[in-house]
């Protein structure tokens, strides 16, 4: 063990260890001089980010926890009700429905999103002409407003929409994609994947670009098949990128709101009602801010647990070796 007494001076533990029968001896700093650290400088650098974090994350977080303990209308006096909102929540059948819908959405959406993004990224890394152009095309939906995209999709998937008209030309009677509970969630997932997989394509392409060409060439010389190269070289080497995209996509998926709001209003029935849509309606349509805050805390805990599980699981498959 070594103890630093002043910058640049290291003393061995033996030199300062007190004898068993003697009180500990403090090594004095030079007389009249206080130990000078980088605390203030560090604080100055931290201040902008930290202030934002406190006022826009910590304070609202605690504020919502306080509100969740009240019956809190948008106008009027709040009433303290303790944990009654949480009790009500666990007895609310819609809560379980929206939780299940959100979990199904999150897992299916994340899996399809990553599979598609990985496939497209691999395709873009082949000797493809205009790969930059295609990358932009796939990224475009991710940077266009989601509300506008969802409105276009609603027009395409409606009963008399573009999709059913196209199917009609082949003599196929299209389904009610947004009104039939068998297809509605699928429609929401499909639109969501289309909207956002381009972002993951960019991240995974960067990961693929970081693989040293020598390794791939060496493996080719060794006669590996394309599948084996993917399975044993490419996937392990882009596993940090995969882990990042998986975690962020999953967190985003649990917060899905715009797509069901615009495409289906959560219907038919509750088949596409999601956690954040239900939360939003309780807070700003049904005037139940306390209940909405309790929902928000449950969502926070669920997302935190799933993210923690992902971090715990990464040790088994994410490879940070260069």
């Amino acid at each position: 063990m070594a103890i630093s007494t002043s910058p640049g001076v290291i003393a061995s533990s033996e030199a300062v260890a007190p004898a068993a029968d003697q009180p500990a001896v403090r090594i004095p700093t030079p007389a009249g001089k206080k130990k000078k650290g980088d605390g203030l400088t560090a604080l100055a650098y931290l201040a902008p980010g930290f202030t934002g974090f406190v006022f826009f994350i910590v304070v609202p977080l605690i504020g919502s926890l306080v509100i969740s303990l009240f019956e809190w209308p948008l106008f009027g006096s709040p009433t303290f009700i303790g944990f009654a909102n949480y009790e009500k929540l666990f007895g609310d059948p819609t809560f379980y429905t929206v939780l299940l819908n959100t979990v199904i959405f999150a897992f299916v959406y994340t899996a399809v999103n990553l599979a598609l993004a990985l496939g497209v990224s691999l395709w873009l890394t082949t000797k493809l002409k205009f790969s930059g152009f295609w990358r932009v095309i796939f990224f475009l939906p991710a940077i266009t407003p989601m509300v506008a995209n969802a409105l276009i999709w609603r027009l395409m998937l409606s009963q008399d929409g573009l999709l059913n008209s196209l199917l009609g030309t082949f003599g196929i009677e299209g389904a009610s994609w947004l009104s039939d509970s068998r297809f509605a969630l699928l429609a929401v997932i499909t639109m969501s994947v289309w909207q956002s997989f381009g972002y993951n394509v960019i991240v995974l392409s960067a990961g693929l670009g970081g693989i040293p060409k020598e390794i791939l060439e060496a493996s080719r010389v060794d006669g590996t098949s394309a599948w084996n190269r993917l399975r044993f070289i490419i996937l392990p080497m882009i596993s940090p990128s995969l882990f990042f995209t998986m975690t962020m996509t999953m967190i985003g998926a649990f917060q899905v709101f715009v797509q069901p709001q615009i495409l289906t209003q959560g219907g038919p029935g509750e088949s596409t009602n999601t956690f954040v849509l239900y939360l939003y309606r309780n807070g700003f349509v049904f005037d139940k801010l306390g209940y909405a805050s309790a929902l928000a805390w449950i969502l926070f805990i669920v997302v935190m647990l799933i993210t923690a599980l992902q971090f715990a699981g990464q040790k088994k498959w994410v490879n940070y070796d260069k």
Binding site: I62, G63, I67, F75, P78, L263
Partner: protein, 416 residues
């Protein structure tokens, strides 16, 4: 810094953060509305478009003809956001004095709107000058919360040319359900439908009201599961799933979809408010007719919807605000608004002004509906009912669930 000091600081910081959170959370409790020192009143209302702004400004300018000293500023978000923002606006600093509300939302805004009964008495206002059903709609807990400026009974718009082409006689001021369904079937062929339907609860409620039934009981409690109301909703669902005279609406459809189906000629009939008369007349390239909402007996029983002016509970000068409201709802003002904006005035004596330039059948239908009208009565939780009906109604129209199941689900979800 010693460990104890660090702990103390951490505890202080934690307490400060907690206090900040609590203070932020409690910031929604401020109050105190006021009129400006020069007597200018502020009105908070929905302003979705320039047309909305023009409407509110014309209310003020018409009122100023009688009271030149009247000054009112107009401010507000779009219609959909208004119902949330009006609550937060009244919680913030410098809240407005005059608010607008729909009768259907008066229950929801109960906490914001000042009871006007004392002001009505002290200003010698004769309430019988206003449409009784609209005053009923503006009444919450036995007190009037707003003075209505319009009283618009839901009507059935129809494509008179389509009726003639199908060899049918266009309906007059009476219309039985049996005849209506028979006509709608005759008008349905291929992609053309007899009726266009929008999601939501208001039109099915107008359908039920035509037979004298409601989803709210006499005490003002939500009663969606009463058998008469359920039967009415089922008969409305059956128009799609059994009679097949209309397409099932999609949950996310706005009213634009059904309106466009009507004006484009894809649907021969549409249940809507008479405030759409001018818009439809302009958009449709066919002769448009207006009749009553079909009832089992064929007689008219209107469901009125409309809006009015109320006073914020924390307004410091409610007398001035009430005088301004009275100035904006005089007969000449409402007549001018009926002629220029197409509203059906809340004062029966001003209603003939709406009929000017419209077909005599339309005027007769509106008169018949207003003579026997009930307000669109709602409950404070009606937003939830409306939302759930949009979600679940789709399954009712598609025949996947019965009205009984859907009304039961909504009633239980709302929890009244």
């Amino acid at each position: 810094m010693t460990r104890n000091n660090r702990r103390r600081r951490a505890a202080t910081l934690g307490t400060a953060v907690l206090m900040a959170g609590a203070m932020t959370a409690l910031a929604g409790c401020s109050s105190g509305g006021s009129a400006a020192a020069d007597g200018t009143l502020s009105m908070y209302t929905w302003v979705s478009s320039q047309s909305d702004r023009d409407q509110w400004e014309s209310f003020v300018s018409l009122a100023q003809k009688e009271d030149p000293d009247l000054k009112i500023t107009i401010d507000g978000p779009n219609f959909n956001d208004y119902w949330t923002k009006v609550k937060t606006r009244l919680s913030g600093s410098n809240p407005p004095c005059i608010l607008t509300t729909q009768a259907a939302r008066a229950q929801e805004l109960e906490g914001l709107l000042l009871p006007l009964d004392d002001l009505i008495k002290s200003n010698d206002v004769d309430t019988s000058d206003y449409d009784a059903s609209m005053l009923d709609g503006m009444t919450v807990d036995g007190t009037i919360r707003a003075i209505p400026y319009d009283a618009e009974p839901i009507v059935l718009f129809y494509n008179a040319d389509a009726f003639t082409a199908a060899g049918l006689t266009p309906p007059g001021a009476t219309y039985t359900r049996e005849q209506f369904i028979s006509d709608a079937k005759a008008l349905t062929s291929g992609d053309k439908k007899g009726l266009a339907i929008a999601p939501g609860i208001s039109i099915p409620t107008a359908w039920a009201t035509a037979d004298g039934y409601s989803g709210v009981d006499e005490d003002g409690t939500l009663d969606l599961t009463n058998s008469d109301f359920v039967d009415e909703i089922q008969s409305f669902f059956d128009l799609v799933s059994v009679d097949q005279v209309a397409n099932a609406p999609e949950a996310a459809d706005s009213s634009d979809v059904s309106q466009a189906a009507f004006t484009s000629g894809d649907a021969a009939m549409l249940l809507e408010g008479p405030w759409m008369y001018g818009t439809f007349d302009e958009a449709a390239d066919f002769t448009m007719g207006v009749t009553i909402v079909p009832s089992t007996s064929g007689e008219a029983h209107g469901m009125t919807q409309g809006s009015g002016f109320g006073i914020a509970k924390n307004c410091s000068d409610p007398d001035a605000a009430f005088k301004a409201i009275l100035a904006m709802t005089t007969t000449p003002v409402l007549e001018a608004q009926a002629q220029s904006r197409g509203i059906v005035p809340s004062r029966p004596e001003a209603v003939p002004a709406w009929a000017e330039g419209k077909s005599p059948e339309a005027a007769a239908a509106v008169d018949a509906l207003l003579e026997n009208a009930s307000a669109y009565i709602t409950t404070p939780t009606w937003n939830q009912v409306e939302t759930l009906m949009s979600q679940y109604g789709v399954e009712g129209y598609r025949g996947e669930k019965t009205a009984d199941e859907i009304m039961d689900t909504i009633q239980n979800s709302v929890g009244e």
